[in-house]
């Protein structure tokens, strides 16, 4: 059993997805989905332990040897990503049953869980596989189910957002497909490990440059890197709350994982950063993303839209850390992936609670919420403090590493800009705090009660994780550092 863990990580949710249809009542389906997600989480913990103890796990599907067969390869980088994805998925699912009662019609609720599990399976497939084309397949599985999930939103703008995401996402995926095809053409293999061995010989050809360029652009579309981020704000804002909480914490991280995996493990760091001036491009785009998105966030009236733009800004930070091209920078990016998942998971889930109780996430409907929903608002405040980077929260840990990495690389202006970006976060989060605590409730909103426990428990689990991992950073820092070092070929 233990030997098959890598494939079970993906197969369990994948098979469970259509099985949901067998169970009739949404309540049963919810429990089933929760069970499945929980098992996936346990598997990911087991895998992480195995990897930390004995190094890279290689699993051949069906016993077929690589490079002809498909290989699943778990190293420290995907182990931690698997942990993030399954962890967030499970915690978010805890609130799903209650949340979708208000947001999705009853006849569609079972289908919601089917799509959710499919998306989960897709993302897990992307991070576990060691085969390039397999990546494309799972990318499309997760994306298509994500498009459908977003379209389940109550507001009709969800349909439009989903359609736009579909068009942009499919273009991105097709670019990735072109890139994979060109790589295959030049090397004759699709296995990532094999590609990394064969690419250096043919690396200086135009074909490989083109392949690299297509891959990078395609991944950046999925990553929502400025200026290819246009699909993200609407998609996150109008999707059902559970979907937003899940996707915001996982989807873009998976794309970033792909970027790291392809540039470091497949093409090799030296090739990647010398063919295209990736460092310059990414640091500029990353910082632009931080400022443009943060400033846009300040002017939003819809709080979900506000935090969606904030997510684009945070992705900008991750890209800046990546662009430093050093162990320290990559550690900072990986840390921020982990921490941001916790932050945004908590925030969007809390917003889901607000949506559940008052049916709206407009800023003017937040007036007086500080008194009416104290625990929910407290969760939003802590999550916001984490975004700003206040000490003792996870956000501070990421920021420290990011600034340190920039300074170590001699990029003092970048360090200054990173910190200035945090100040913008203060502006847009404090608008919410002021609305909730300083204004009296609007007419008609006086009878709001606190969110039900089914929301409060997962929200506060995530918020406590925010604080816990901000105080006890051993797990996240050790794994992130180990993963970064192994990608650079330094450590074990």
């Amino acid at each position: 059993m233990l030997a098959h863990l890598p494939i079970l990580q993906v197969i369990v949710p994948l098979l469970a997805a259509p099985s949901c249809i067998i169970l009739r009542r949404p309540g049963w389906v919810w429990l089933f989905a929760l069970l499945v997600s929980g098992s996936a989480f346990l598997i990911s913990i087991a895998l992480l332990q195995q990897v930390m103890d004995s190094g890279v796990i290689v699993y051949e599907l069906g016993g077929w040897e690589a490079p002809w067969g498909i290989e699943y390869r778990i190293d420290k980088l995907n182990a931690i990503l698997g942990l993030i994805i399954t962890g967030i998925s499970t915690i978010v699912l805890l609130a799903a049953h209650t949340s979708i009662q208000e947001e999705i019609p009853e006849d569609r609720q079972t289908l919601f869980y089917v799509l959710y599990l499919l998306s989960l399976a897709g993302m897990l497939g992307i991070v576990t596989t060691g085969d390039a084309f397999n990546v494309f397949v799972f990318l499309e599985i997760s994306s298509l189910s994500a498009y459908a999930l977003i379209a389940l939103g109550r507001d009709r703008r969800a349909l439009w957002a989903s359609y736009q995401y579909l068009i942009m996402g499919s273009i991105g995926a097709t670019f990735i497909l072109i890139g994979i095809g060109l790589m295959y053409q030049m090397t004759g293999t699709l296995n990532m490990e094999d590609l990394s061995r064969r690419l250096p010989e043919v690396a200086q050809t135009r074909t490989v440059f083109t392949a690299f360029a297509f891959l990078i652009v395609g991944i950046c579309l999925k990553l929502a890197l400025f200026p290819l981020h246009l699909w993200l704000p609407n998609a996150y804002a109008y999707a059902p709350s559970i979907v937003t909480a899940f996707l915001a914490a996982t989807a873009t991280k998976v794309a970033l994982y792909l970027l790291i995996r392809f540039t470091y493990s497949v093409f090799g760091g030296s090739f990647s950063f010398t063919t295209l001036p990736l460092q310059t491009i990414f640091v500029v785009l990353g910082l632009l993303g931080v400022f443009a998105a943060s400033i846009t966030a300040i002017y939003q009236k819809n709080v979900k839209l506000l935090f969606a733009y904030s997510s684009v800004a945070q992705i900008g930070y991750m890209i800046v850390g990546y662009s430093i091209n050093s162990t320290a920078g990559l550690t900072a990016t990986l840390l921020h992936m982990f921490n941001h998942a916790l932050m945004k998971g908590a925030l969007f889930l809390a917003l889901g609670a607000v949506m559940y109780r008052i049916g709206s996430v407009e800023l003017r409907d937040f007036h007086g919420l500080g008194r009416q929903m104290p625990f929910t608002m407290a969760a939003i405040v802590v999550g916001s403090l984490s975004l700003i980077g206040v000490p003792l929260t996870v956000g501070f840990v990421s920021k420290w590493y990011l600034v340190l990495a920039a300074i170590e690389n001699g990029w003092w202006p970048v360090a200054v800009l990173i910190l200035l970006g945090s100040l913008l976060a203060i502006v847009y989060t404090w608008k919410i705090v002021e609305a909730a605590y300083f204004k009296a409730p609007q007419a008609g909103n006086e009878q709001v009660r606190e969110a039900p426990l089914s929301f409060l428990i997962p929200v506060w689990m995530l918020v406590s994780a925010n604080i816990y991992f901000g105080i006890d950073t051993r797990l996240s820092v050790q794994v992130a550092t180990a993963a970064a070092q192994s990608l650079f070929g330094v450590g074990p």
């Binding site: 349909l159 359609y163 273009i171």
Partner: protein, 117 residues
């Protein structure tokens, strides 16, 4: 150069046509058609690459020792299925958008969306 690499030219032309349709047309269904053409160009690229000069169909047979590469065919089968799923989803969304907004023209929909915000 042109004649020897004609398959690549076809790929490039189709890709650009598809891409152009997606960007330039406002009709939702036309965008999906454009996406399809775009994806088809990639299929053609893969399949044309798999063809070996002087190779026969990839089925083991006596007397032949050069076969075309079957792997890209397999990959493209998968990609075609993905493309079908995307098209189906896109068209379904277009239908629901028509129900909700009364139009499948991007400009009109965008106007109605902006009015709501």
């Amino acid at each position: 150069m042109f004649l020897g690499l004609y398959n690549y030219w076809i790929v490039v032309v189709l890709m650009m046509i598809g891409f152009y349709i997606i960007i330039a047309h406002g009709n939702l269904v036309k965008k999906i058609v454009g996406l399809n053409i775009f994806q088809t160009s990639v299929f053609i690229f893969y399949i044309s690459v798999s063809n070996i000069d002087g190779g026969t169909a990839p089925i083991l047979a006596e007397g032949f020792n050069q076969y075309s590469n079957p792997l890209p065919h397999v990959l493209i089968l998968t990609a075609i299925v993905v493309g079908i799923a995307t098209t189906a989803l896109g068209l379904a969304l277009a239908m629901r958008i028509k129900e909700a907004y009364g139009s499948i023209e991007e400009e009109e929909i965008q106007q109605r969306v902006n009015r709501e915000c």
